[in-house]
Subunit: 211 residues, 2 copies
């Protein structure tokens, strides 16, 4: 009877341990998946420390320092890109976001920008700046608006919402942004970006126009 | 030894069954949570069968029938509301979406519409139609744009993205919509809707204006 008890208890202990490990694994997995929401307008604050973390909290500007805002979080998510950043943006005139993209480009991150043809040419658009820096930009060539406002970071984090990448959207309008790593949400956007990127290959377009 | 083996096998079988049940439960739970993405422009097709499922596939219109499109899916998600529908929309002029909201209202679904003041007054806006039908509408009274484009169905399903509720957005532009039940994504929108709804209480607003 003693042996029966020992063996049974051993098996129960093993089973419970497995159960616990499985539960911990499931919990850690769901904790790892980012699902965040940011609302705008964002409080206006200095973002210099995000671009230059080693710099002391200087007083070169009159804005509040060290404040965590929706915009500073958005910048951090963008700047977290290690290998790639795909941008599909209706309008892009925000200079801090442009600076973040240029910084990633200088770090060797592969950047692709797909944007609306009409809005890429308006005053204050950062599209020309990105192009001049050598970033690969394609303009949607269709007659309709490319109204998306999404980014895919490293092929696994989706940033999407109502927010155009403009100063008005960030500092004035009521807007939202979702940051998610849910594969069911991210993968369709990755696929759609590739589809639109291929559709708007300027070489193909020029070829079809001259045919 | 025979008893030891029987008891051990029994415990192992019980343990494995528990493990299986736990796995099935986790899987069913993640399967239950909706995470969908819809892209636009949507193929133009007849949506009459969505409003009147009992009607035969009639030929009262020349559009393709029985086609599953991004727009028909969006309509179905909206019409799935059983108890409440909260809409926070920059622009609302799409007549099929307006019809869906009116239908829900006639079914007794509690509807709240928060919209941008300027865009609620433009030609073709459905806001006046909803108001006349007795639906509770509040216009954002701030000087900036209420640029959101989201809906919360029954307090648990979020529909959000770049798509304004207009015909151009649905049939022409490149747009996206996310439909999700992820609590980490839905709850912030529920909270933000309540905050904005409270902020734009016309009684409070009138009171503060006349103070």
């Amino acid at each position: 009877m003693w042996t029966v008890k020992v063996v049974s208890l051993g098996v129960v202990a093993l089973s419970l341990s497995l159960e616990l490990l499985f539960w911990l694994f499931s919990r850690r997995r769901s904790e790892r998946i980012t699902n965040k929401v940011l609302f705008f307008p964002s409080e206006v604050a200095c973002v210099e420390h995000i671009f230059s973390p080693t710099l002391p909290h200087s007083h070169v500007c009159s804005l509040p320092h060290g404040v965590d805002t929706s915009f500073s979080r958005l910048l951090r998510y963008i700047l977290s890109a290690c290998s790639s950043l795909d941008l599909c943006l209706f309008s892009f005139s925000n200079m801090d976001l442009s600076r973040a993209v240029l910084l990633l480009h200088s770090r060797g991150v592969t950047i692709r920008v797909l944007t609306d043809k009409v809005y890429s040419a308006i005053s204050g658009s950062q599209i020309g700046v990105l192009r001049k820096a050598g970033i690969c930009v394609r303009c949607d060539v269709s007659a309709v608006h490319m109204h998306h406002k999404f980014a895919v970071v490293d092929g696994r984090t989706l940033i999407t919402g109502s927010l155009n990448w403009t100063l008005t959207a960030v500092q004035s309008n009521m807007e939202n942004i979702i940051i998610t790593e849910e594969p069911d949400l991210v993968q369709p956007f990755v696929k759609e970006f590739c589809r639109l990127w291929g559709l708007n290959d300027s070489a193909q377009y020029l070829s079809s126009v001259t045919d």
